[in-house]
């Protein structure tokens, strides 16, 4: 498989050129649901990083044993195990965060970014490539969550990571922390990214 991307290519592609959210439009459920505050968004990004990394490494280790018709079962089984670990860990050490994220942590099991990376990369490439792919994609995901969450939290509450950044007189745009704010912000940012990409292409 000479035409497969190398570990370094996998890593860099995940961050911007193949950003899971802005370029592949995957995993949008948490993107819309947990981005009304930076703390929630970063906890979610950390959870996805852990699950994606562990799942990619395990799948890559057993990639020669996978049977085509049983591979999805094994992906799901592996992902579900690590998601449960994250869920229990948050409930034990970050109880309030685990309550505010609620079912979105267990829902990482059906986050298509992870199953997509297992299918595209980990089940075909070496452990090192799979691990750097996982880190790259997770950083891309974290970047996307952070961009949306910072817009929503700053405009919606005047705060950033729970600290006030806009003056007290800022009229909180409550709609930004509610679900419509997620769609508005995501749509505008996605349009911006597409516009920049189109400009770049036109230059080349």
């Amino acid at each position: 498989m000479a035409d497969q991307p190398t570990a370094f290519e996998r890593f860099t592609q995940g961050i911007l050129p193949e950003n899971p959210v802005y370029r592949q439009l995957l995993g949008l459920c948490p993107v819309l649901a947990v981005t009304n505050s930076m703390q929630g968004a970063m906890t979610m990004a950390g959870a996805v990083l852990f699950v994606l990394f562990c799942a990619n490494v395990i799948i890559s280790l057993i990639r020669d044993l996978l049977k085509p018709h049983l591979r999805i079962v094994i992906f799901t089984l592996t992902i579900a195990t690590f998601v449960t670990i994250v869920d229990r860990f948050l409930a034990a050490y970050m109880y309030q965060m685990s309550k505010s994220l609620g079912p979105y942590i267990p829902l990482i099991i059906v986050n298509c970014i992870i199953i997509c990376r297992c299918e595209v990369c980990a089940s075909k490439q070496s452990v090192i490539t799979a691990a750097s792919d996982a880190i790259g994609q997770s950083l891309g995901f974290a970047l996307a969550l952070a961009s949306i969450a910072s817009v929503r939290e700053i405009l919606g509450t005047g705060m950033f990571f729970g600290f006030r950044v806009l003056p007290e007189m800022w009229p909180d745009w409550v709609i930004m922390v509610l679900p419509p704010g997620a769609f508005l912000t995501f749509g505008l940012l996605l349009g911006l990214v597409n516009w920049v990409v189109a400009l770049k292409k036109a230059k080349d």
């Binding site: 018709h69 049983l70 089984l77 229990r88 034990a92 609620g102 079912p103 267990p106």
Partner: protein
């Protein structure tokens, strides 16, 4: 690459049976299962402690109501909270008895039952005689976001406040009018009914034990003024 003929158990020997092809699935499942059991054993005391802390924090609000509980914490007064276990109806309930100056203010019971998605864990507050519901709080749930998880919202769970414990609560889809009717959440009738069922079952089991426990305790404290009232 696997046509149905190739994967069907046929005349090509034992390795063609699905169960043998799935050896990796079975092996991984047992391995993952065992590690999850280990993690659960390690972390569950910590998680239980977190839940207990949250319960203890919620007890004043569930018995006195949100405003009185805030006033209480502002004045830095604490309720004495005793935890006990009461066995009723084949279940062991964790019961918190809140007292001020030796007088029972009320009880908070931890109960659980099957919801739409997963087990719902909740706290029911009742007054000292276990006649009236004074509060409801959802400790743990995994209901559908946006529909079933509205059971957590004060606007919905406060419907239970001041309801007599004698009657069976039902969730109705039309506007609730009778004393035992609760407005079901639109799109989440099963979650609403599940909460009602858990509350009903818990109160049916515990109404008598709690009333008895309270009247037993009244006797020794008879010499104290009985008209104790909560200052607001």
């Amino acid at each position: 690459m696997n046509t149905p003929e190739q994967t069907m158990p046929g005349n090509k020997g034992i390795s063609n049976f699905f169960i043998f092809q799935a050896w990796l699935v079975l092996l991984l499942a047992s391995f993952f299962g065992a590690s999850l059991a280990g993690i659960q054993l390690t972390l569950s005391p910590k998680i239980e402690a977190n839940k207990l802390n949250e319960t203890l924090e919620k007890v004043p609000e569930l018995i006195l109501g949100a405003e009185a509980a805030q006033a209480l914490s502002k004045e830095n007064r604490l309720m004495d909270i005793d935890r006990q276990f009461i066995e009723a109806g084949n279940k062991i309930y964790s019961v918190f008895q809140a007292k001020t100056n030796g007088q029972t203010d009320g009880w908070v019971v931890k109960a659980s039952g099957q919801g739409y998605a997963d087990r719902i864990e909740l706290l029911v507050g009742v007054d000292a005689k276990a006649d009236t519901i004074t509060g409801l709080f959802i400790l743990d749930q995994k209901e559908t976001p946006g529909l079933g998880n509205k059971i957590m919202e004060p606007a919905w769970r406060n419907q239970f406040n001041n309801r007599p414990t004698q009657q069976q609560m039902t969730a109705v889809k039309t506007k609730a009018s009778a004393a035992n009717e609760i407005n079901a959440i639109t799109g989440a009738t099963i979650s609403s009914k599940a909460v009602c069922d858990i509350v009903n079952q818990t109160l049916n089991n515990l109404r008598q034990p709690l009333t008895k426990a309270d009247s037993n305790e009244q006797k020794p404290s008879d010499n104290q003024p009985n008209n104790h009232q909560e200052k607001k």
